[in-house]
């Protein structure tokens, strides 16, 4: 029985208002109460709440509209159509691959469903060090509870796949803390293709939740439209200038869309949100814009097991360990969360490294390969100041990100922890993912090798799927771009509702942090707008 494509059905039968900007044959003028730039976790959550509150919402997305019948679990199609820059996005020096979504639904379309509340130590640190007010655990808890219910977020009930099970087994053997990951799914088929768009609409991404709800409330969706520039006088925004993109979302078609709204919400995520403000010459008297942009820097360790792991099948992330996350304090040596990634052939081939016969051999062993990853918690220590979003000569944003000695120390310790857990789980051999590393048969050899690795860019395979900060929130305009309600410190009718608000990284996969915070901020915004303030 074919899986119903709920979004297509809504388009065909429910009178939803959507526009494909790539097909415009003339320029367009649109008006709304609230224009929201970005349809990912922050934008779509805000759109649902504000449209339900009676505001006329226009949701603007740069990427294409792809729905479940377009999702064929094929890497080539998914990477080309659903990821920023055709999965070619990287840090400015090319050393860190950055995975972000770019389609209606944003990164929620392609994330691996891990859903954590913002850790309490992170919120406390923001209040203490970054002047964030009114966003403690207690204030956020009802919002997290509401979003968990809305998005079906619960600890995964099925047994973990073998890739995740190895993480559990290794931690258990060593007495390290591990837990089951809460996932935003309903009726999940346990396929393993969350990163390529859920073909069965089980993942409760924005595409099947908040965006349909917004359209049901009479909201409008404009896609394949890049927000190019906000027009402003230094105090108020008077309009938004968008350019229509071609159907591949690579080149502008030449058509333009002018948007007028009473209020503007920026929700393009880390990199794109500060990028738009930089292009718009937004006031930035204290030079905070784009600064302190954080990654959860990720390094990897590969293990070979006698039994098949088949790391390409089954819910991609279901077990995590925070054993090394907070034990040295919030601002001690860099903490890290341990998880596993799914391994489909193309991503695995570039991750596992080397070339020629050596890479071919590593790929031949893919079914027996286990990979673990460490999400390094950036931004909590003075030596961990993140990177800076800049503009390329064509106006496209790019993240200049240097890896500090403090972060490299975290990378090395994470390599050690991962090798230890993989051996404890029964790995025959382990190889830290680094160009000078090789598979070794026991922990002593692994420790020695890791201690001697020349940790530098490119030799160490680094990636990140979590970009945070760059439009930091905080009460002090000298430190922050927005206040704790997401209101831009200088532009009166602009709010930011996305991960770029975070004053540090989260220390956990950030989607639920973005949902919860955006919901709280949107609720407060609705109240303010109704009161006419």
């Amino acid at each position: 029985m074919p899986v119903p494509d709920l979004f297509r059905d809504g388009l065909d039968n429910r009178g939803w208002k959507t526009r494909d900007a790539s097909r415009l044959d003339q320029d367009l003028h649109l008006a709304a109460d609230i224009a929201i730039i970005g349809s990912g976790a922050g934008g779509a959550t805000s759109a649902e709440l504000l449209s339900a509150a009676g505001f006329k919402v226009l949701l603007i997305e740069e990427g294409p509209l792809k729905t479940s019948s377009d999702f064929h679990m094929l890497e080539d199609q998914a990477y080309a159509s659903l990821y920023q820059e055709g999965i070619g996005r990287m840090s400015k020096d090319g050393a860190i691959t950055i995975l972000q979504g770019r389609a209606v639904g944003g990164t929620t379309l392609i994330n691996w469903t891990s859903s954590f509340r913002t850790p309490e130590p992170t919120l406390e640190h923001w209040a203490r060090e970054h002047g964030v007010k009114g966003l403690g655990s207690a204030e956020l808890a009802p919002w997290f509870a509401r979003l968990e219910q809305r998005l079906g977020i619960e600890p995964w009930i099925m047994p973990p796949n073998a890739n995740n099970e190895a993480l559990r087994r290794g931690c258990e053997a060593l007495g390290y803390n591990w837990k089951v990951i809460p996932r935003n799914v309903r009726g999940c088929w346990n396929l393993g293709y969350c990163g390529m768009g859920c073909p069965v609409n089980a993942k409760q991404s924005m595409l099947v939740t908040s965006i349909p709800a917004t359209l049901e409330h009479g909201g409008e969706l404009l896609y394949l439209a890049r927000a190019e520039r906000l027009e402003h006088n230094g105090e108020q925004i008077s309009g938004l200038h968008c350019v229509a993109m071609d159907s591949r979302c690579v080149e502008p078609t030449g058509r333009q869309i002018k948007v007028k709204a009473r209020h503007y919400i920026l929700a393009g995520g880390g990199i794109n949100s500060p990028g738009l403000l930089l292009r718009s010459d937004a006031p930035d008297p204290h030079e905070r814009l784009g600064k302190r942009t954080f990654l959860h820097l990720v390094n990897f360790s590969a293990g070979l097991f006698k039994d098949q792991v088949n790391p390409f099948y089954g819910a991609p992330q279901s077990i995590y360990s925070d054993h090394f996350q907070w034990r040295d304090g919030v601002s001690g040596p860099m903490g890290y969360k341990l998880e596993v990634p799914p391994l489909h052939p193309a991503l695995a081939s570039t991750l596992l490294g080397s070339f020629g016969k050596e890479n071919a051999l590593r790929m031949e062993q893919l079914p027996h390969t286990h990979v673990m990853l460490a999400l390094l918690r950036d931004g909590f220590h003075p030596d961990s100041a993140g990177g800076e979003v800049q503009l390329r000569s064509d106006g496209a944003p790019v993240l200049d990100y240097q890896v500090s000695p403090y972060a490299w120390d975290g990378v090395r310790r994470a390599f050690q922890s991962m090798a230890e857990i993989q051996f404890a789980a029964g790995a025959d051999s382990v190889m830290p993912v680094h160009s000078d590393a090789r598979h070794v048969k026991n922990l002593t050899e692994a420790r020695q090798m890791i201690d001697g690795l020349n940790l530098e860019l490119f030799r160490t395979r680094l990636g990140s799927a979590h970009v945070m900060g760059g439009c930091a929130m905080g009460e002090d305009p000298r430190q922050a771009v927005c206040d704790s309600l997401g209101r831009h410190h200088q532009l009166g009718n602009l709010s930011i509702h996305d991960g770029s608000l975070f004053p540090t990284s989260i220390g956990a996969n950030p989607q639920l942090s973005v949902y919860g915070l955006s919901a709280l901020l949107s609720d407060a915004l609705a109240t303010r707008l109704v009161a006419g303030r």
Binding site: V3, H72, M73, L74, E75, D76, Y79, A80, S81, E85, G86, I87, G88, R89, D93, G94, A95, W189, L191, Y193, P199, V200, R248, V250, E251, F312, Y313, H344, P345, A346, L347, A348, S349, T350, F355, G356, K357, N359, A360, L361, M363, E364, L366, P367, R392, D394, A396, V398, S435, L457, F458, R459
Partner: protein, 177 residues
Amino acid sequence: MTTSLPVHPALSRRGLLKFSLGASALLATAGLGASLSGCSVQTPASGFICLRANDLLILQALIPVVLAGTQAADKRDALLLRLDNKLTALSPAMLKLTHQLFDVLAMAVTRGPLTGIWGSWDSASSAQIEAFLQRWQDSSLNLLRMGHASLLQLLHMAWYELPDAWAHCGYPGPPKV
């Protein structure tokens, strides 16, 4: 072009430094030089959207080395089309960088000093190509390390996105839904 070249970079620190500075200058001018001198044809090869005739020559030489141990060389045409398709999805900025990388590899004036391959790509031996890849991986120059990473990533991903590659890596393909 009449750029003077550091022809034989010695393995001394000073030699390496000199080489790096020379290489930076070469890289910085490669794109401009290519377009001014007409060394690099900007039009795509017949049947391709992004890849140009010179790019194809380079890739045809790289495929048997970078993807040695796989069936890629036998499926070269499908692989090149796949790779071309990947490039069409890149942002203009990333596509430009990729074209510049291929320009550096294509033009004799940059290819020789930067890769050690002084003759044409189709006459380069596997050993020469391996040495070039190793040299770029170990380079002190970030741009060359980035070039190395990009070449490998493009070829690896393009190959393993093809269903032809899956039997070798024990991947049965996506399940039926």
